[in-house]
């Protein structure tokens, strides 16, 4: 927490979180952010990226989003931001794009989190599933998670914190990880009413926003990755 911003009313003081709106379920993320009291802005251009305190890369098709990031010249600015402490959260396709190494993606991702992710690694759509996760550091009741043509995190570097894991049926593999200001989940919290992960991310954005206002972090965007 640590910030004095008013997060309850989504008024002028509420933190502004961007949702990358090139393709995918960005509207669902925006609605989930509003439910936890944040303002949500769709981000399609560099100008829009410069006006937010954090960025969600939503579920969608990772090949499509990766291609559009390059075509619309957003990839390098997002990499620069991600390296500077700017909060970025990737869900499913977004988690794929954040990984340093992606198995079976023939176009460049963002290479921000030291982990290996494999696309569509549970199988095809008929293998998509829902599961109850141990809430780990989130506390409280189990977390209901929706996995759709989901990627699998095959390995993470020692300095990446694993927040949530699937049960022993899936070798307790990591499905939510944090690396500094970067968050990645292979499932879709935006498709359920459970706001715990969105609240956690909004708090990260809030902290970043207040540090930036205090001149403690470099001003946003620009720069080449």
């Amino acid at each position: 927490m640590g910030s004095m911003r008013n997060l309850t009313a989504a008024g002028a003081d509420a933190v502004t979180v961007g949702v990358l709106a090139l393709q995918g379920d960005f509207a669902e993320h925006a609605a989930a952010l509003r439910r936890v009291g944040a303002q949500a802005h769709e981000v399609r251009t560099l100008d829009q990226l410069e006006q937010v305190d954090g960025l969600i890369i939503p579920g969608g098709e990772s090949t499509t989003i990766a291609r559009l990031l390059l075509a619309y010249e957003l990839r390098a600015p997002i990499i620069a931001l991600g390296r500077s402490g700017f909060p970025i959260w990737g869900t499913c396709a977004g988690a794929i794009l954040l990984a340093e190494e992606i198995v079976t993606l023939d176009r460049p991702g963002l290479h921000l989190i030291p982990m290996v992710v494999e696309r569509n690694a549970y199988g095809r759509q008929i293998d998509s599933f829902e599961a109850e996760l141990d809430p780990g550091p989130l506390g409280g009741r189990p977390l209901h998670a929706v996995f759709i043509r989901a990627p699998r995190i095959r390995s993470v570097s020692n300095d990446v914190e694993v927040l949530l894991r699937l049960g022993p049926e899936y070798d307790d593999e990591a499905v939510a990880v944090q690396y500094g200001s970067l968050l990645a989940t292979t499932f879709h919290p935006e498709l359920t009413e459970d706001g715990r992960l969105h609240r956690r991310f909004v708090e990260m954005c809030e902290q970043y926003g207040s540090q930036r206002d205090a001149g403690q972090v470099p001003a946003a965007a620009g720069g080449s990755g």
Binding site: A21, L22, Q23, G24, F26, T63, T104, Q125, I126, E130
Partner: protein, 295 residues
């Protein structure tokens, strides 16, 4: 740990991941790769694009599994394929092949004139066409996890797609101003289950993702459908019947992402390769109108 597959949430959820995207008809693995490279969020695997089905005539059926397998192997994005209305065996075959979505489609020749497939029985999700709100909700009641407005496939003429999208969206707006006491008779009038009517009123939109289809030939057509409320766009003959498919595919993908940005739309519409020629709807003999198939 409780694990569930084939739930309505994961079926409808895949469609949510396709939003803001373009689903392209492809007839070869090579087409599929061009579509993926251009940024398609999914491809529809079929033997003939709708304009060729229209030109050739005869009974149009599910594609040969070898063609569908070839396309599944060629790309990593989700692959859809079409079955005839009511043909649940074709649907079982496609499920066994591992397609990610089945389109129970009026573009193929209907197999059953009375009943659509009971889509609840399948693990694979279905998308179905509609012309109005009642038809959309009937398909959802049968288990469709995604809807597309029908338009008139293979014409390169956007007019029917606009008519159907305006009908759905207009009905949803009208529904939102209705009182509780009006819902049962409204549901009866449009031939839809009252619970789905109520849910649509509460959500202010269809309960599942709704794409536009049938007649999109240019980036401007695609952006028009997005502005009318589509969640994304199917492009059938419009890409691979244009003179330069890769460029047309890129331009339409860009127009769908930036559908509200007139400068981008002007840019992607400039010096485009020639679009497919297109057909005036009034010139199509009544029995050959595809949108009238299904009910």
């Amino acid at each position: 740990m409780v694990v569930e597959t084939a739930t309505q949430t994961v079926k409808a959820g895949l469609a949510q991941m396709l939003k803001g995207g373009v689903i392209m008809d492809v007839v070869t693995p090579e087409h599929a790769r061009i579509a993926e490279e251009a940024g398609a969020c999914s491809v529809m695997a079929l033997e003939r694009v709708p304009s060729d089905i229209r030109a050739t005539g005869g009974v149009a059926r599910m594609s040969d599994p070898s063609l569908i397998r070839g396309i599944i192997d060629a790309v990593s994005i989700p692959v859809m394929a079409k079955v005839r209305i009511g043909h649940f065996v074709e649907a079982s075959i496609l499920e066994a092949l591992g397609v990610d979505y089945i389109d129970e489609s009026e573009v193929l020749t209907p197999a059953d004139e009375s009943f659509h497939i009971n889509k609840h029985e399948f693990a694979v999700p279905f998308v179905c066409g509609c012309r109005d709100l009642g038809e959309a909700l009937r398909r959802i009641a049968e288990g469709a996890a995604m809807i597309r407005t029908k338009g008139e496939a293979g014409t390169g003429n956007i007019v029917e797609a606009v008519r159907h999208m305006r009908s759905v969206q207009g009905s949803i707006r009208a529904l939102q101003s209705m009182g509780d006491e009006e819902l049962v008779s409204y549901a009866r009038d449009i031939g839809a289950p009252v619970e789905l009517v109520r849910q649509t009123r509460e959500m202010g939109r269809l309960p599942v993702v709704n794409f536009a289809a049938g007649g999109v030939a240019t980036p401007a057509d695609a952006a028009l459908m997005m502005r009318l409320g589509a969640d994304g766009v199917f492009v059938g003959s419009g890409i691979f019947k244009s003179e330069e498919p890769a460029r047309m595919a890129n331009a339409i993908v860009r127009a769908v992402t930036h559908y509200q940005d007139d400068d981008v739309l002007a840019e992607v519409s400039t010096n485009l390769p020639k679009a497919m020629p297109g057909i005036e709807i009034a010139e199509i003999p009544e029995p050959e109108l595809l949108a009238k198939r299904g009910w």
